[in-house]
Symmetry: C2
Subunit: 394 residues, 2 copies
């Protein structure tokens, strides 16, 4: 008799986005004359930039003709793309070998796949509030989950102390959902901790393109010591609008080893065993992101979203609301006014000013009392929502 | 201290394709005047068909404009594509619910990912010679591997008997590397065995488009009883030339459950946890394959490869060589002439007539003494290679 993976029974159902959709739909049904402004959206809204579109059309055309057709590609990525990404890091002062760059279908896919590298007995350390997949993928693998609470006291950037344990440390900076971002010295402290205890850091850099502060690293490999303790997971989803295109990349340094086993070699072996690589089209599209034209065009899109961040920040400042994020991230995380819990604030926000956001409680217990706004809407909607918020709470 | 997955140390290195490349390169260096005909190639050579190319260009263009841009998509596939694939099955007399169809990045990726559904204590049963990933992905998961030898005696189509055990049964039909294909009654016997013992069949149907015999099922779900014991893994790689495009689909029936757990629900939960779905471009390209135009165009490509199969079959028949495959598969599997072992035949084939193929020993011990030819080359090359073989051995 086949035994199913019994750990599925340990998963908790996630009702966050279903519940938001249900409550919004109920409101719209009761108030058909009202238009809800959706300010919780975690998806990009601007289209793919021209440099990438041209590269994609060209790649499609290559696949139409025998002499330019591409079949199977190297599982870890085409050499030119791996070199283009390494060159992108070099421009930021980070030296990587091209074969330390692995292409992927996106950060979410990769965060699940990477767990194959680790033993079931290694415990995962997750800062909460957190992206739910950090927890769920480890539950499926039968791993113990340890939690470190982020809160207003630590600026939603928890640091290790003498009680901290954990073998597989998830750091997401800039953070989803809080938008908080670790500084160079904070990340150095995590790196010291990992090297001292033999832990490995999974560094989720999906939102690095939104960083403005010079003191906030885009890559954990900007910091000494990271090459012996970290894997970095990146994505073009929020950098170049690839949420529906699917492309990411992962850095596994040659020096990363534990217990006599080299994790870079293991990941090469994993990819050559478990995938046949990423679509030629997506690799050509991704390569265009790293050209000067692609960089200029995608940075213009990020500047657009950052104007929304600036609208929110001015509004929260005027209202005296405590918040993190916005400056280095596409998310803002406010403390709910008047001690409301996050679903109370959700309901009131919708009823009073027809704005929809994301209740912090949906990201774990320590998100209770907080609320996430995103910057991925249009300027017009963001300005209208901010104005209504000022009128209501001001 | 993080513990790495210790099972990586249990993997054996696979030198097959490296060794073929090395020996071919050495020959070419020693004989620069000779042109090798590569007849072992496992990759398609014809370009993507016009229906798919048009759909891809249109999808790229949609992604260029705000009003038609697509961000995140449903993780298990867009409804229209899942319905198109279910309709494709319906035309063959197989009734599926659209939500039993899951899109994937291809059969190889999916064969690794699906293992998340099963407990480590379930044993995998693999027919050898086999696609190496069946074995390696299970070794990485720490599972016991049981082997059932395919050989000339059973026509390279092993059947269960009273000694057969195994919880996770890999069936690849038509088979890679042997090209042998199970008939309806043979598959029924495997289904009876799985339902009686509680095993689950992973049915790899990557080569179904090459089936000609009416008695060979394209899908395991053509047979009664499969819905309670089988998962079917399909690919557009060899059906529509998608080896470098990456797209596949998987059928997990609602009725499939073991030990009180429903594997369909588990797979939905797995996908929504571990992926953000397949690229919009690839889903639109795949959908075009299932249109009448896409079907007509891809069947023309398959007919091209099947002409190569027919050249090989005539040649082997004339030479009196025993073989499987060709009729229902893009591969042919011959018994090496004069009792040669498969690397002896490889060397002699290259030295005497400058033809390169794939030694059967590379697919497992029971492949020794056999040799794989593929049909993915051009007609000109295949005819030339067949002619040389006739002159040499005839």
């Amino acid at each position: 008799m086949l035994k199913p993976n019994r750990h599925y029974a340990d998963l908790k159902d996630s009702f966050l986005f279903v519940e938001i959709a249900d409550r919004s739909a109920a409101y719209e049904k009761a108030h058909p004359e009202q238009l809800l402004l959706r300010m919780g959206i975690g998806d990009v809204t601007l289209p793919i930039c021209p440099a990438v579109i041209s590269a994609l059309h060209a790649a499609v055309e290559e696949q139409a003709h025998t002499d330019s057709f591409h079949g199977y590609l190297p599982e870890c990525g085409t050499p030119s793309l791996r070199e283009a990404i390494a060159a992108h890091y070099a421009r930021r002062g980070v030296r990587l070998d091209a074969d330390e760059v692995f292409v992927s279908s996106g950060a979410s896919d990769e965060l699940g796949a990477l767990l194959d590298l680790f033993d079931q007995d290694s415990a995962a350390l997750v800062m909460e509030p957190a992206y739910p997949a950090y927890v769920d993928t480890n539950i499926l693998a039968g791993r113990q989950i340890l939690r470190l609470a982020a809160n207003r006291g630590n600026g939603f950037l928890p640091m290790p102390d003498s009680d901290t344990t954990g073998d597989l440390i998830y750091l997401c900076s800039p953070n989803n959902p809080t938008g908080a971002a670790y500084t160079r010295s904070q990340l150095s402290e995590w790196i010291r901790f990992a090297n001292a205890t033999g832990a490995v850091i999974l560094f989720d850099a999906a939102y690095e393109a939104y960083i403005e502060d010079a003191d906030v690293p885009h890559s954990i490999f900007e910091i000494d010591g990271a090459r012996t303790c970290a894997i970095e997971i990146c994505s073009l989803s929020k950098t170049a609008g690839f949420t529906g295109m699917r492309f990411g990349y992962t850095i596994v340094p040659h020096e990363l080893q534990r217990d006599g086993m080299n994790l870079h070699s293991m990941w090469v072996r994993n990819r050559t065993t478990k995938t046949n690589g990423i679509s030629y089209l997506l690799q050509k599209g991704a390569e265009a992101v790293f050209t000067p034209q692609g960089q200029a065009e995608t940075q213009k899109q990020i500047a657009y979203y950052k104007e929304n961040a600036s609208i929110w920040m001015k509004t929260f400042d005027r209202l005296g609301l405590w918040y993190t994020g916005g400056k280095n991230a596409p998310y803002l995380w406010i403390e709910c006014p008047n001690g409301m819990d996050s679903w109370q604030f959700f309901d009131l926000l919708m009823e009073r000013i027809q704005v929809v956001g994301t209740p912090g409680a949906g990201f774990g217990t320590s998100g209770e009392g907080f609320f996430r706004f995103s910057t991925f809407g249009s300027h017009v909607d963001t300005e209208a929502a901010a104005k209504r918020l000022l009128q209501w709470l001001g």
